[in-house]
């Protein structure tokens, strides 16, 4: 995964069943959430997801870190 100066890391979460929670499947580097979504959809296509979201890593708050 590459990271241009104008890009940031987006964590990718998805689920393939309605009764499952979203779980972390990977990350992408992208200049916008829209492009991150395009990348995530094409890279993490191993299942027929029913939901996928991307979250900027910078927006995530660490709670426990050992």
């Amino acid at each position: 995964m590459s990271a241009y100066a104008d890009e940031e890391i987006y964590e990718v979460f998805a689920r393939n069943k309605a009764d499952q929670p979203l779980h972390h499947v990977g990350y992408v580097s992208a200049p916008s959430p829209e492009l991150a979504g395009v990348y995530a959809r094409s890279i993490y296509d191993e299942f027929m997801w029913i939901e996928m979201i991307v979250v900027p890593r910078a927006a995530m708050h660490s709670v426990i870190e050992t």
């Binding site: 995964m1 590459s2 241009y4 104008d6 890009e7 992408v28 580097s29 992208a30 200049p31 916008s32 829209e34 492009l35 979504g37 395009v38 990348y39 959809r41 094409s42 890279i43 296509d45």
Partner: protein, 222 residues
């Protein structure tokens, strides 16, 4: 089913279907050439996915040509078929990533606009194939727009090159659209809008890209 159509309508429909099949096939080939050459690994994966989608769409539509064999050139049919009716700008390999993005935006965009006008088509073999294609094209559009904005933000020679290529492709693509008998197709309900509606929707779809390239006003004057 095509035998039931009026001769003028059959000719117009055969020509449009060939244009769609050929353009998607050629666009898929051009995208595929960048599976190993895109600027980032993410973009390469997206190029690969888009190539697969375009070739899949072309293959899914290919059987539709069978009903019009008497109207189409012999080289457009059969196992060894050749591409004869693709949108201009795809004849040669893309010279650079900006060419890829320009085609991604302009040519992918015009195809999606055409399919959107066919979602309630009276010609069921076409109508039944539109939903999945439009859904997948949503991501192609986001890719083209995302990269256009990225290049525009970066400024410099890349955006100049993109502006030039977008302007060239837009002119060529509008000319290609004019070559189809869209109004005959619209009058029969094969498409839900005529030539003016198609052109207007296409330019509207391109607005974010054209604005980013500084071409919005110029495009409206075309």
């Amino acid at each position: 089913m095509s035998d039931e159509l009026a001769p003028e309508l059959r000719r117009a429909l055969a020509d449009l279907l060939l244009g769609l099949v050929d353009t998607k096939q050629q666009l898929g080939y051009r995208y595929a050439e960048w599976c190993t050459g895109a600027p980032t690994l993410e973009a390469a994966t997206a190029a690969s996915a888009m190539a697969q989608a375009e070739l899949g769409h072309s293959r899914a539509m290919l059987p539709l040509l069978d009903a019009f064999g008497d109207l189409l050139p012999a080289e457009a049919l059969g196992d060894q078929r050749q591409i004869t009716r693709a949108a201009p700008g795809l004849e040669l390999s893309f010279a650079g990533w900006t060419d890829f993005i320009a085609a991604n935006t302009i040519i992918d965009g015009v195809l999606t606009t055409l399919f959107e006008l066919a979602t309630s088509s009276t010609y069921k073999p076409l109508q039944s194939r539109t939903r999945k294609m439009i859904e997948e094209e949503r991501y192609h559009s986001a890719h083209g727009q995302g990269w256009t904005l990225k290049l525009a933000r970066g400024g410099g020679s890349a955006v100049e090159l993109l502006r030039t290529r977008v302007a060239e492709l837009l002119d060529a693509t509008l000319g290609w659209l004019e070559s189809f008998d869209i109004d005959t197709l619209a009058q029969a309900g094969v498409l839900s809008g005529g030539r003016d509606e198609l052109r207007s929707r296409f330019l509207q779809r391109l607005q974010p890209t054209l604005k980013a390239c500084g071409l919005a006003d110029e495009a409206l004057a075309r």
